[in-house]
């Protein structure tokens, strides 16, 4: 019998959110998500023989003294299987456990799928758990906050539109102290390249934008950046399984490139 035991770590996004759940909401949400899964989920659940070969692939398992509850198969068993078996009738505390496992004990590297003799996409199963937790709004606070930032601002750091513009213009001034003719050209229609950073750059490390400008200047690249929404290439919404916000962010990113008539998008990282 698997027993899920962890050191208690307070997280408002989980601890407070589960207090707002009702049994009806939990059941309805789980069953709505499972209803949309089709044959894929059924095939995965019916195919898994619980052999545990996936365990050795998981760095959470290996780095926790081979505690079996960190093995991928256990993470599925401790979350999704229980939901399926109980037809969605699970407790708020169980949802808190699911959120903790799905968001903080799997980082979707997918190594386990390579170890599975059947190639079961275990990350897909964990992603379903994340999706359920997201729709119940039981998500670690700072992950949810970042997701909300994407939803509200289309960047992950709550940057206001004028903050972004001012930061880039400031960094252009900085880089021009060193390279007199260097530029960070906003909205240059027809440039070869649209470069997009992730929002932590303008928010916390704006000098990285200047560093990029130096590279572009030295390499003679014909480049631009959008002054409007769509400049952030990150998408934390994908990680929390907020697929609607994810697609909105991605659409905006590509549409920025279409608007600027660039031939390529170059992203940091």
């Amino acid at each position: 019998m698997l027993k899920y035991e962890r050191k208690e770590i307070a997280d408002l996004g989980i601890d407070e959110s589960v207090k707002r759940l009702t049994p009806e909401k939990i059941t309805k949400t789980i069953n709505n998500v499972l209803k949309g899964t089709g044959a894929r989920l059924k095939a995965y659940l019916d195919t898994c023989i619980h052999c545990g070969l996936c365990a050795e692939a998981c760095h959470y398992y290996l780095s926790h003294g081979k505690n079996p509850t960190y093995s991928p198969v256990a993470k599925v068993k401790l979350t999704l299987w229980e939901m399926v078996k109980n037809k969605g009738n699970v407790s708020p505390d169980f949802i808190a456990q699911c959120s903790r496992i799905a968001y903080t004990e799997c980082n979707r590297c997918r190594r386990c799928s390579l170890y599975c003799p059947y190639g079961i996409d275990i990350w897909y199963l964990i992603a379903l758990v994340r999706r359920i937790c997201l729709l119940l709004k039981v998500v670690p606070q700072y992950e949810m906050d970042t997701n909300y930032s994407h939803a509200a601002t289309l960047n992950m750091m709550w940057l206001k539109q004028d903050d972004w513009i001012d930061t880039v213009q400031w960094q252009e001034e900085e880089v021009r102290m060193e390279y007199k003719t260097a530029r960070i050209p906003f909205d240059k229609e027809g440039a070869e390249v649209m470069y997009t950073p992730i929002a932590p750059e303008p928010k916390f490390k704006p000098q990285l934008l200047a560093a990029t400008a130096k590279i572009m200047h030295a390499a003679g690249v014909d480049w631009t950046m959008p002054s409007f929404d769509g400049w952030d290439n990150s998408d934390i919404s994908m990680h929390v399984a907020d697929f609607e916000t994810m697609s909105r962010v991605e659409r905006k990113h590509f549409e920025a490139a279409f608007k600027l008539k660039v031939k390529r998008i170059v992203m940091c990282e």
């Binding site: 408002l12 509200a152 601002t153 539109q161 004028d162 050209p185 929404d229 609607e244």
Partner: protein, 418 residues
């Protein structure tokens, strides 16, 4: 059309400015901007002292700034700009400035009559909109994007009505965003709001809104549709009515809904819907399957699909035909009524219909040169720089605004000689 009628459609060629000379005269030349009628060319230029000003048809503005950008000619050929000096932003118009100064100002947009300007602004630490120098009295914790009514009298922005603490996910979920019109927010907030637009009679505003995680709809004047969807995209008003049409996702597929009710068949994706000029037909970019993009008119998809991109549709002025930019295997071209031009390009700009809809022209790039393409046939001349071509009122001549060997020309060329 009245303005185009007043343009010079007779002079075959006007040499307006030598941009190479500008490049010799100034330390840097940035952001070249052309007036609609092609008579004027301007750029942000850097003086030797590192300060910026504007060179407009060779004339240089005496004022200099630390930052200067977003040059935009209005239809009277006055030049707007956003200018920053001594820690204040202002709006330049020709050789003058609006009196108002701002902490920041952006999203500079011409008013529908083509004369005035509107922008988002931050003033005294609060956010709003400024229309022709008049700032909203009510301002907010944030304002993102703007819309202006077709009659040019009202402005709207997506505003944050409540300030919340960092990472207060619970306060956020209660809704902190609304649409403010002339500074007056709707009665209710939403979790998030994206695109928004005025009705053609300027009395209503529709917006795509987030009600909850995974729950979206369209709100008109703050009232959400009764129907809730898995996702929605940008709404538009049917011209001359208060009916609102938006792409909505139900289950795994998308359709177009009017006032909440489906009016089209189901597609893998839909966006960029547009009404024909006569208001009778609706076209949109759709995906019939994953990676199969095309245009649908009145819910009927073209049979030809493209594997990478199809951009939003363009109707001919007589509402008869539809053209769109399409991309396949990393090559761009135009498709008209479902049939792509044979020639493909490194990049292509929006299709332009002749007044009677018979011809389609576009600016296109091939091997680092820019061409005018007429009904798929690439023009004789390649230019160093080129702006979107404009058909003359009779549809027989085209205004070409181009740079050749560093010199900017305004040319009037018969369509059959391009």
């Amino acid at each position: 059309m009245a303005e185009i009628n007043n343009w010079d459609w007779d002079t075959k060629e006007k040499y307006i400015a030598d941009i190479n000379e500008w490049k010799k005269k100034f330390k840097a030349v940035r952001e070249i901007s052309i007036s609609d009628d092609g008579e004027r060319i301007a750029a942000v230029v850097e003086n030797n002292d590192g300060r910026f000003t504007i060179c407009n048809n060779g004339g240089v503005w005496e004022e200099t700034f630390e930052r200067l950008w977003k040059l935009k000619f209005n239809n009277e050929n006055q030049l707007y700009s956003l200018a920053y000096r001594d820690y204040e932003w202002g709006v330049g118009i020709d050789n003058g400035m609006w009196e108002e100064k701002f902490d920041s100002i952006w999203n500079l947009t011409l008013t529908p009559d083509g004369k005035g300007a509107v922008a988002n602004c931050k003033k005294d630490g609060t956010y709003g909109v400024v229309l022709n120098g008049n700032v909203w009295e009510n301002r907010f914790a944030d304002a993102r994007n703007l819309a202006i009514s077709p009659d040019g009298t009202k402005t709207a922005s997506n505003v944050q009505t409540k300030s919340i603490k960092v990472a207060d996910i619970f306060a956020f979920a209660e809704g902190i965003y609304s649409i403010a019109i002339d500074g007056n927010p709707w009665d209710r907030n939403f979790m998030s709001i994206w695109s928004f637009t005025f009705s053609s009679d300027s009395t209503k505003v529709a917006a795509e809104v987030m009600l909850d995680v995974g729950a979206f709809t369209i709100a008109v004047d703050g009232k959400p549709w009764d129907q809730v969807f898995g996702c929605v995209w940008e709404p538009i008003f049917k011209p001359g009515t208060h009916d609102v049409v938006a792409p909505v996702k139900r289950g795994a597929t998308w359709t177009l809904a009017m006032n909440g009710k489906p009016i089209w068949g189901e597609f893998f994706q839909i966006w960029g819907q547009k009404y024909s000029p006569d208001g009778q037909k609706l076209a949109a970019t759709v995906a019939t399957e994953f990676t199969k993009w095309t245009i649908a008119v009145e819910s009927n998809a073209w049979s030809r699909t493209w594997n990478e991109t199809v951009l939003a549709p363009h109707f001919s002025p007589d509402s008869r035909r539809v053209a769109a930019i399409v991309k396949e295997d990393n090559r761009w071209t135009i498709a008209v009524d479902g049939i792509p031009w044979i020639e493909t390009f490194d990049m292509i700009w929006d299709p332009v219909f002749s007044p009677n809809g018979d011809k389609v022209i576009a600016k296109a790039e091939k091997n680092k040169k820019y061409y005018i393409v007429v009904d798929g046939k690439i023009g004789k001349n390649g230019y160093d720089a080129l702006w979107d071509p404009v058909f003359g009122p009779d549809g027989k001549k085209v205004l070409i605004k181009c740079i050749e060997n560093g010199k900017y020309y305004r040319r009037i060329v018969p369509v059959n000689e391009i």
